[in-house]
């Protein structure tokens, strides 16, 4: 099962959400997309990305396929599975609750 690195859930959430908007991304493109979508605010640690991808693939949330790029190189691209969609919904609501709570604390404390 998952290691309990803090905010690991966050990385999962970001990857799932990005894939739900832009299916069929390969690893490098994912990093770039998250960077773009967050308006340059979030830079995904490349060292954490691939373990997360393999783990989520293992869990059945995403599936991978090899495609050949224009350059002739093969690339491994990722897509959400139905289970991944469900997981995304759960993780999203959890995130909302957490941030709302943290916000409340920040407002009131």
């Amino acid at each position: 099962m998952a290691r309990t690195d803090s905010l690991q859930g966050t990385l999962d959430l970001l990857v799932l959400k990005t894939l739900s908007r832009r299916p069929g991304l390969h690893g490098y493109a994912l990093v770039a997309a998250i960077h773009d979508l967050s308006r340059d605010a979030l830079r995904v640690e490349e060292g954490s990305l691939y373990p997360a991808l393999y783990r989520m693939e293992e869990a059945g949330w995403i599936r991978a396929a090899w495609t050949t790029k224009d350059t002739g190189r093969r690339a491994r691209v990722y897509d959400l599975t139905p289970a991944g969609r469900k997981q995304l919904a759960a993780a999203e609501s959890r995130w909302q609750i957490l941030t709302a709570a943290v916000n409340r604390v920040l407002r009131t404390a």
């Binding site: 099962m1 998952a2 290691r3 309990t4 803090s6 905010l7 690991q8 859930g9 966050t10 999962d12 390969h26 690893g27 490098y28 493109a29 770039a32 640690e45 490349e46 060292g47 691939y50 373990p51 393999y54 783990r55 293992e58 190189r73 093969r74 690339a75 491994r76 959890r94 609750i97 957490l98 709570a101 409340r104 604390v105």
Partner: protein, 876 residues
């Protein structure tokens, strides 16, 4: 990455490795294309090896890392709350220790009772049976040999009979227990003597033809100081020098559950150990108890069928002695002729009891963990919200539980080791006989204990773990934000755990109460003779070398001397004293005008008694007279029958003056005695009669003395009077008849001790559990209580509220326990003597104890509740 290496990778099962390499390579390529430095891009990905591990072996590696982390974390958590930890470990230690102890007793006494004896799983006990009569009998030597001759499914027949010998030391006669065995004994059970040899073929034939003995290691050490040249020396056993041919190995104690034997003699010496009565050629005399080792793959049913067929043939061939006689096999753990059979129900009950105690302990620890889990609610909630898997949390809590129970199991094994000899300590000693009722802590017991430990962990750790992992995040965070302790709704789990504890301990208390009552009933039960005011001992003139003529004179003179003493009302000899472990004489009988069913041979046991015996031991005469000195070898043969026998053979119509045939000799009936108990208090009445000792003489005899004096006071006088007649004769152990009777109730006493001890433990544990729940309830409802107090409730109202809740829980627990006890106590079977398994007073007493314990447990939380400071509580 070439096609070739990709192919090889696939064949090797390393496809994933190759793919990871390729994917990471592509990533670096993209990064460089976007203008990044190749080296920097590579470093950013980290070690390729790490991905490989995390990709492929993620599960194993992470699992192990998590386990180590959990163990360390669990250890830290336990250290942080030492009070909680020590209470939990103490509860579990008692639970697991009690289980391990009972397992070890079952292993050491029932399952593998005989150290060094090989393949005990193929060993079965053999007894005789009488058609139409309950229970078991012994087997005659000629029958034993015939069974052996005609069976094909059995590897070995091992005959044995427990016996005793007097080892005279100074003016004290020390008893040693031993066994008469068939010559194949040591070979058949696979025990090689440490020194010398076992018995040789043929040494079990001929009357007193082979005075040889194998002695125990302990006897060799104690009496011969480990003399290395012991073989060939002699030891006097029952007055006859026996050549020591072997010394048994250190850990061999014989094949009789309960005793450690000190010597073995071949069966040919039977008469020497049976006061001169020769039985090897007497098909009517049944005295052998023994074992058979079945051939590989033969079932007990097959062997039983074959032996029954042989017994049926013997019945046809020898109707005079064998009519109605059968043979029965028992697994070792049901052996009826030693203490295995007697302890079987006790150990069965003990097993149920300790499992209940363990359940109660688990419920307690589960409760403690729940309390702590709620205290750690916040920790868990945060961990969940930042993405820890629920399974991961469950695993961590279970690991913490495992740390607890492994520590407890270690302690439990120490407890079990202390308790190894507890059964022997609870069993009353018979003079000079070495008791042996050991627990055996072998790998099977350790494995069972480990299983119990794991099962216990799952029981007590899983419930809180699952509950915790089901935390409703949204709800939890909301309530956390509001500053209120959550999980109010889950207290029902804790209440349910307390219910289980209360009801289980109630059942145990009812069981203990019933056994105490039964014990009381046994203590008050009349054995049919006077237990008080009568002493018994033995005077063995046979061993002392007396011939019958001299022995008769000695016995008469000793009785005269004793009766002349002030304080002695009367004294009488008999061959047997009631409630002895030795066997009465028994014989086929015939009565004028009584026709037994064609397939049955009426048999009865009898005792050979001296003049005045019945008056001395206090058995009243219903009609006729006692034996007098005139009933001697020159007078007509006489007998006294008991009421049971009179009712069965003469239908109660005055048998006095009629006659009975015993072993072909007709005897005149001169009296009818009130029926008494002969072996133990629990026996069912069987026909029994008496014959004059003079006409059926035994020089080794029991001596009964009716006196108000205590054994210690009269023993010196007894020795003085005996020595006045012969300085070389010593009496055996002098005890009261009361003690003689109590020696037969050991298994009841053990059961009572175990149930009372564990029942008490269970109540304490349940009270601790109830206290925990009530304390938590009070602290969780501080606001509510404060509000009530602020609104004008006085302390009695609050007290009533809290006590009411605690007692309501207790009442439901008692009701459930009552239902369970109502259904289960009858399983105690024969351990209950003259007590109904549904005896209301046992139930009432158990209720009172549980309620009092509950009150004690609730008082402190209730008192604390009344001292809630409304202002403080409401402001907080």
């Amino acid at each position: 990455m070439s096609q070739w290496s990709r192919l090889v990778g696939a064949i090797r099962g390393n496809r994933l490795n190759a793919e990871i390499d390729e994917e990471l390579e592509a990533h670096v390529h993209d990064a460089v294309a976007a203008g990044r430095d190749p080296e920097e891009a590579r470093r950013a990905l980290g070690s390729r090896l790490r991905y490989r591990e995390e990709g492929r072996d993620a599960r194993v590696v992470v699992w192990l890392a998590d386990l180590v982390q959990d163990l360390r974390f669990g250890g830290r958590m336990l250290l942080r709350s030492p009070g909680f930890s020590s209470l939990a470990i103490l509860c579990l230690t008692l639970g697991i220790g009690a289980n391990a102890a009972v397992f070890s007793w079952i292993e050491g006494i029932l399952l593998r009772p005989y150290p060094l004896v090989v393949e005990q799983n193929r060993l079965f006990a053999v007894t005789g049976t009488d058609r139409g009569a309950p229970g078991h009998t012994d087997v005659s030597w000629p029958d034993w040999l015939d069974l052996q001759r005609h069976s094909t499914l059995i590897d070995a027949f091992v005959a044995e009979k427990i016996t005793g010998s007097t080892l005279t030391i100074g003016d004290r006669a020390e008893r040693a227990s031993g066994s008469m065995v068939s010559a194949n004994y040591f070979d058949a059970i696979g025990v090689r003597p440490l020194l010398g040899r076992g018995f040789e073929p043929g040494e079990d034939t001929g009357r007193n033809a082979h005075p040889v003995t194998v002695i125990s290691y302990q006897m060799w050490q104690d009496r011969f100081r480990g003399d290395p040249d012991i073989i060939g020396k002699t030891q006097v056993l029952n007055g006859l020098p026996h050549t020591i041919v072997g010394v048994a190995p250190k850990d061999f104690f014989g094949t009789f559950v309960g005793y450690a034997f000190q010597f073995w003699v071949p069966a040919s010496m039977q008469a020497q150990f049976d006061a001169g009565i020769y039985k090897l050629e007497d098909r009517g005399a049944r005295w052998i108890e023994g074992y058979v080792r079945l051939k590989q793959g033969v079932t007990i049913q097959q062997a039983q069928a074959e032996l029954s067929a042989v017994a049926a043939r013997l019945e046809q061939d020898y109707p005079g002695t064998n009519r109605g006689r059968g043979i029965r096999l028992f697994p070792l753990w049901q052996t009826p002729f030693n203490n295995a059979g007697a302890l079987l129900p006790t150990l069965g009950i003990a097993l149920v009891v300790v499992l209940s105690v363990l359940l109660i302990a688990c419920a307690n620890v589960g409760n403690l963990l729940l309390v702590r889990a709620f205290a750690r609610h916040q920790e868990m909630t945060i961990r969940l919200s930042v993405g820890a898997g629920r399974a991961r949390l469950v695993k961590q809590l279970v690991t913490e539980g495992l740390v607890l129970s492994v520590l407890a199991a270690a302690g439990g094994l120490i407890v079990a080791n202390w308790l190894r000899n507890a059964l022997a300590l609870l069993t009353p000693a018979r003079g000079g006989v070495l008791l042996r009722l050991p627990g055996e802590l072998d790998w099977r017991v350790l494995a069972m204990s480990a299983t119990v430990c794991v099962a216990a962990t799952l029981l007590f750790a899983l419930v809180p773990a699952v509950l915790t992992s089901n935390i409703d995040l949204a709800g939890a965070l909301r309530s956390e934000a509001g500053g209120v302790v959550g999980a109010h709704g889950r207290t029902w789990i804790r209440s349910a755990l307390v219910l289980i504890q209360v009801s289980l301990s109630f059942v145990l208390l009812v069981g203990a109460g019933l056994l105490i009552q039964s014990m009381q009933a046994i203590r008050n039960a009349s054995p049919g003779f006077s237990a008080d005011g009568v002493l018994t001992t033995s005077v063995d003139l046979f061993t002392a070398g007396y011939d019958p003529q001299r022995a008769r004179v000695f016995q008469d003179e000793l009785i005269d001397r004793l009766q002349a003493l002030g304080g002695v009302e009367s004294a009488a000899f008999s061959r047997m004293t009631p409630f002895s472990y030795r066997t009465y004489s028994s014989a086929p009988i015939a009565v004028d005008g009584y026709d037994a069913p064609a397939d049955q041979q009426p048999t009865a046991e009898y005792n050979e008694i001296g003049p005045g015996y019945l008056a001395t031991v206090g058995i009243p005469l219903v009609s006729g007279r006692e034996f007098t000195r005139a009933d001697n070898e020159s007078g007509p043969l006489t007998a006294i029958v008991d009421e049971t026998m009179a009712a069965q053979f003469w239908r109660g119509v005055g048998p006095v003056g009629r006659r009975v045939q015993v072993k072909g000799r007709w005897m005149q009936i001169v009296g009818v005695a009130r029926a008494a108990k002969y072996h133990n208090l629990l026996e069912t009445p069987q026909p029994f009669f008496y014959v004059p000792l003079r006409q059926n003489f035994s020089a080794a005899a029991a001596l009964q003395i009716r006196t108000a004096q205590r054994p210690g006071a009269i023993a010196p006088t007894l020795v003085r009077e005996i020595h006045a007649l012969d300085g070389n004769v010593a009496p055996g152990e002098l005890i009261t008849m009361r003690e003689q009777v109590e020696r037969t109730t050991a298994s009841q006493r053990i059961a009572v001790t175990i149930l009372v001890a564990f029942g008490g433990l269970a109540v304490v544990l349940a009270a601790v559990g109830l206290y925990g729940v009530m304390a938590a309830t009070v602290s969780q409802s501080t606001r509510e209580l404060a509000l009530r107090l602020a609104l004008g409730a006085d302390t009695t109202d609050v007290l009533r509220l809290v006590l009411g809740k605690g007692l309501a829980l207790t009442a439901i627990g008692v009701a459930l326990g009552g239902l369970a006890a109502f259904q289960t106590t009858r399983l105690m079977g024969y351990l209950l003597y003259k007590v109904s398994p549904r005896d209301p007073s046992a139930f009432a007493a158990a209720s009172v104890i549980v309620v009092v314990a509950a009150l004690v447990a609730c008082v402190v939380p209730a008192w604390r509740a009344t001292h809630t400071d409304p202002i403080q509580a409401l402001r907080g």
